[in-house]
Amino acid sequence: MAAPRSFLWTRRIFLTLLTGFVLLPVYVMVSSSLKPLADVSGKFRWIPSGLTVRPYLDIWDTVPLADYFVNSLAVASAATVLSVAVAVFAAYALSRYDFRGKRVFAVTVLSTQMFPGILFLLPLFLLYVNIGNATGIALFGSREGLILTYLTFSLPFSVWMLTGYFDSIPRELDEAAKVDGCGPVGALLRVIVPAASPGIVAVAVYAFMTAWGEVLFASVMTNDTTRTLAVGLQGYATQNDVYWNQVMAASLVVSVPVVAGFLLLQRYLVTGLTAGAVK
């Protein structure tokens, strides 16, 4: 298709502006994280007056960033693994079986995603506090409570996407596995899961990102020892002296793992979205 000049020029201008808009904060984050404090406290400078890695060394002392990092990593990883496992089983049931209540389940699970988080926050807060008082199981303020909460956040989307993905895998594969002596669960684990691995990777990436980036529940349901990065980073910004270069350095450090993982695996996410979501 030979595009006319008007199209090519509009495309060029639009894409240039959009790239600028997208990258502006990235530039600010990277450049400011390498600036001396005098640079970020005064007028903004496009070009730093000098480069320093000091902020990257200081961030670990100003707030206990390493502890927050470990908390975030533990919570997000556990939530991801559990969420994917639960979603795989549920999606297999929805994709391969006809049973009573199937539609009700699918619609209910999906619709929970549209409810405002604030609606769950207050009751869940009280529920966890009350469970703690009644049974001694510390859900409020603990990593376990946060894991339990987060794993349900990505669950509806994961179930939905995996069901679509499993639907696209021919049933003959299940039959073949059964002929070879696998039970239904064996067929799922040995045949379906490997065949659907791009979809499962996509869902895992989504679950990890959801947990790594969540702010609302993290800020209410954590204490000093279980605080995650989402809350911890605000520690720099609300002090009387804001070390903006350190804030930017810390932001970059916490972003690198997810952004790298996402960009490496985004191919799968796009494929997964095509197979599962756009139907």
Binding site: M1, F7, R11, F14, L15, T19, F21, V22, L23, P25, V28, M29, V40, G42, K43, V86, A87, F89, A90, Y92, F99, R100, K102, F105, T108, M114, F115, P116, I118, L119, F120, L121, L122, P123, L127, V129, T152, L155, P156, V159, P184, M209, G213, E214, V215, L216, L229, L233, A237, W244, S255, F262, L263, Q266, L269, V270, L273, T274, A277, V278
Partner: protein
């Protein structure tokens, strides 16, 4: 309901679904029918515990006088009837007035943000449909705002919007000479625009991703046929690309609407616990008023009202879009 009742009912359902097949031996048949429920069980329990039960509690709490004295044992809180709802929608009193203002701000903000996200996402996806040099790099770059954790990205924006040492004022005031003095962006009326910019920056890549996925379903030969008939690129976009995206757009707009309307993270990280009045989105408003006064009863009533509004909008939207789809199919 007992397990056997569930099993029997599902057995009937399965039998109805496959009338031609010979009945399986009883024991293995029953096991096979219990299996889908077993597979769903963990998901079901988790959904009940973290979503449905709290939601029902939330509705219950909205009818109670749930102040800080009853946090430890909320069931002991006195019954309040519809008082919490009364307070929430009494628009002459301060609480209701603030809620109404926040609601209207959120409506306006959501409209603007969804429209811009959709526009940028669709335009970018259409412009990247054809292969050209740099396309792969742009596609990856455009997903960066989606991949960055909200707090890291929004903290960076809050630095950029600082009055004295931020990039925005440096460009607008120092370099372009706009305004007599640097503007405040994170307090006062300008905060609405600051929030909108951040929300669009964060939100449009999702529209881009979805539209891109939708574009893959449009058959190439439709474009070729149109080109043979003499339709230029712009005409093809208008008459093939956009109409083909209708169903994708219907889902996309709904999802964007719900996410933006419920967004808590962006204003919370940008402004802290209390947003300026001009950018006081409803989720943060309910959070702030609940945890400031510790009156969870009123907070719950507000949340339920919000939910009812969202259900109503979603219902009407689905009704309109599916009806439109049926008539266009016929």
């Amino acid at each position: 309901m007992t397990q056997t009742a569930v099993t029997q009912r599902s057995e009937r359902a399965v039998r109805k679904a496959a009338p031609g097949e010979a009945p399986a031996p009883h024991r293995s048949g029953r096991r096979r029918i219990a299996l889908p429920y077993l597979l769903l069980f963990p998901a079901l329990v988790l959904e009940l515990l973290v979503h449905l039960l709290p939601m029902l509690m939330g509705i219950g709490m909205s009818f109670k006088e749930l102040t800080q004295f009853f946090i430890r044992d909320w069931s002991a809180a006195p019954w309040a009837g519809l008082d919490n709802y009364g307070v929430s929608i009494d628009f002459d009193a301060p609480v209701g007035q603030a809620l109404l203002k926040s609601f209207l701000t959120t409506c306006l903000f959501t409209l603007a943000s969804v429209a811009l996200c959709w526009l940028l996402g669709t335009a970018a996806a259409v412009f990247l449909q054809e292969n050209f040099r740099g396309r792969g790099i742009l596609r990856t770059l455009f997903l960066v705002p989606y991949a960055l954790p909200v707090y890291a990205a929004v903290i960076t924006w809050s630095f950029m919007f600082q009055r004295d040492n931020g990039l925005i004022n440096h460009v607008l005031h120092d370099q372009l000479g706009i305004g007599d003095s640097p503007l405040f962006w994170l307090i006062g009326d300008n905060s609405f625009w600051a929030l909108l910019v951040v929300s669009v920056w964060k939100g449009w890549p999702f529209a881009f991703l979805t539209v891109m996925a939708g574009l893959q379903n449009i058959p190439r030969d439709m474009y070729e046929a149109a080109a043979l008939d003499g339709a230029g690129v712009w005409k093809q976009v208008r008459h093939i690309t956009l109409p083909s995206l209708r169903q994708v757009n219907q889902v996309l707009v709904l999802v964007l609407f719900l996410w933006t309307f419920n967004d808590f993270n962006t204003p919370f990280v940008l402004f802290g616990k209390a947003a300026p009045e001009a950018a006081d989105l409803i989720s943060l408003h309910i959070y702030q008023s609940s945890f400031q006064t510790w009156n969870f009863g009123t907070g719950s009533a507000m949340s339920v009202l919000l939910l009812l509004f969202l259900l109503l909008v979603t219902g009407v939207y689905l009704l309109l879009t599916t009806r439109g789809r049926k008539s266009s199919d016929a």
